[in-house]
């Protein structure tokens, strides 16, 4: 029989996260700080709206781009929060931010086009670029720059074939953010070199510094060359609803909608109705959750300090990215030994790119009690080394 598989898919290794997940699942009583989703339930009024939409029999398809009502609310939200002015035709509702990333890449890439991906980053970008026929070009971000992208790093990665820069701040796994001045430098280069930006801003509501999130699309000259990806998973604790969106120039959104239409048809209807409610009446929920994450972030920073585990202060998302370089082992080995000795699961930084080697991703989307228990285990383990 012939090989049924495509060479492309065979060339892509499985997610490093997934590999570790299988190990963790075999260990009974393991405490995990490995999740990448909120520990809060979706706010009740949002769930209730989803239930109500089912009671009313709203079980039909929506338009391919998503409910008009929802897209209008997304535009209002984006204007209110990030001062970015978009219209309904510039907005596409997708199955999570993940689909939006995939569809954007497929709509924009031709074979040989290069996509610059700063790592460490979420595990799907590189495979999605390859599947879309593009060539990923990796920039290894550095801890001394607090894992922000610098203009020098960007310039050194640009070639004649560079088409897209894929930004993801606030960042999973580092918790790094990019402030206005950082983004302005990047934007200037993108305009000068005629590069498009796909900006995955799924953690935009979770920042903890003085200034709230700045979207690169809000900078002068950037809206016309940026696709902003966002969604409901992190801001409204709606991961399982699988609902996200993309916003960008009409001619790109139009082509993205075509792919979305042929592959997906439309995002799930129930979630779309629930999301309208989230955007209309969810600001207070976001604030409560954000404050709670911020407290846990401070708690972990303090706990790391006490056990002399060096960690730059992350200002976004819900991850810490401490360095374990002084223990002279790989992050894989550290995570495996920690799991074995203390039944505590964290994700090795190397799962997010080679520049994540020497770090751990520790999620604080857990109750304070769970974090306390976990820090006791981690402290004991470090003490034993």
């Amino acid at each position: 029989m012939r090989n049924p598989l495509s060479k492309t898919i065979e060339s892509i290794p499985p997610s490093g996260i997934r590999k570790f997940f299988d190990v963790v699942n075999e260990i009974e009583g393991a405490v995990s700080l490995g999740v990448g989703e909120p520990d809060f339930d979706t706010p009740w009024h949002v769930r209730d709206e989803g239930i109500y939409s089912l009671e009313k029999g709203r079980t039909f398809y929506t338009s391919n781009s998503g409910l008009k009502e929802l897209r209008e609310e997304i535009c209002r939200f984006t204007l209110r929060k990030y001062n970015c002015s978009y219209t309904v035709p510039e907005t596409l509702v997708t199955v999570g931010g993940s689909e939006a990333i995939d569809v954007a890449l497929r709509a924009m890439l031709d074979p040989g086009d290069e996509v610059i991906i700063p790592e460490p980053c979420y595990v799907s970008y590189k495979p999605c670029v390859i599947l879309a026929g593009g060539t990923p070009v990796i920039i290894d971000l550095k801890e001394e720059n607090r894992f922000r992208l610098t203009q020098e790093e960007l310039l050194s990665a640009i070639t004649d074939r560079t088409k897209i820069l894929l930004l993801s701040f606030p960042n999973n796994p580092t918790g790094a953010i990019m402030e206005r001045e950082d983004l302005e430098k990047i934007a200037r280069i993108c305009i000068e070199k005629d590069i498009f930006v796909i900006s995955d801003e799924i953690y935009s509501e979770l920042t903890y510094g003085k200034e709230r999130h700045v979207s690169i699309a809000s900078l002068p000259g950037m809206k016309e060359r940026t696709i902003v990806i966002n969604g409901f998973s992190k801001a409204f604790a709606m991961t399982g609803w699988r609902l996200g969106y993309a916003m960008g120039p009409v001619e790109i959104i139009k082509q993205m909608t075509k792919i979305h239409q042929f592959a997906i048809m439309c995002a799930p209807t129930t979630g779309q109705f629930a999301a309208v409610e989230a955007l209309r009446n969810g600001d207070e929920d976001i604030e409560l959750m954000r404050e709670s994450y911020d407290q846990r972030r401070r708690y972990l920073l303090d706990a790391f300090g006490k056990m002399e585990l060096p960690c730059f202060e992350p200002e976004g998302a819900f991850y810490m990215f401490p360095s374990i370089k002084r223990f002279n082992m790989s992050s894989d080995e550290f995570a495996e030994r920690l799991l074995k000795a203390e039944k505590l699961a964290v994700v090795p930084g190397s799962a997010f790119g080679t520049s994540g080697e020497g770090f751990l991703r520790i999620s604080y989307a857990y109750s304070l009690d769970s974090l306390k228990e976990a820090m006791e285990r981690l402290g004991r383990f470090i003490g034993s080394l």
């Binding site: 996260i17 570790f20 963790v24 393991a30 989703e37 708690y299 303090d302 304070l368």
Partner: protein, 159 residues
């Protein structure tokens, strides 16, 4: 800062001033002083433990008693309320709007004990016109805390 401290302590009275300071990113000494000040001003009037007595072998009977009273000239409801709150059996007493005046929360060792308290002590007070006793059969959520066994974290352990 006060409201933030209170919100943390409301959720967990066991947090030390040091822990509160870490969580809020404030100075420990300042937090300790603020807590002390709020204790002195009776903004913080006590630290209680939330107990699910349902899980203990000894039975307890909780009741809510709706009471109608004749308010007294000059002192209104306050004097009567003060009479009632003196009884240690009374866990709480609220002045209410609507069809009755006081809602009284009682806890006794048995339904009979609660009933006897109402019959022998409460009803016999001069200003009390009528009482209506409702026993609590099961507490699902109390003081914002769901009393059922906590649900398991169903998220995937790594994602």
């Amino acid at each position: 800062m006060r409201e933030k401290i209170l919100r943390l302590l409301e959720g967990n009275a066991k947090l030390s001033a040091g822990e509160v300071a870490v969580l809020l990113g404030e100075d420990e000494k300042k937090v300790a002083e603020e807590i002390k000040a709020m204790e002195d001003e009776k903004v913080i009037c006590g630290y209680h433990t939330m107990i699910n007595w349902n899980l203990m072998p000894d039975e307890k009977a909780d009741a809510i008693i709706e009471v109608k009273v004749a308010p007294q000239r000059g002192v209104g409801f306050d004097r009567i309320a003060e009479r009632i709150w003196q009884y240690p059996e009374v866990e709480g007493i609220y002045l209410m709007s609507g069809s009755f005046d006081f809602a009284i929360f009682l806890q006794g060792r048995s339904m009979r004990e609660v009933a006897m308290f109402v019959a022998e002590k409460l009803s016999t007070l001069d200003s009390i016109l009528s009482t209506s006793t409702q026993f609590v059969l099961k507490k699902y959520k109390d003081n914002g805390v769901i009393m059922e066994k906590p649900e398991k974290d169903e998220r995937m352990s790594i994602s």
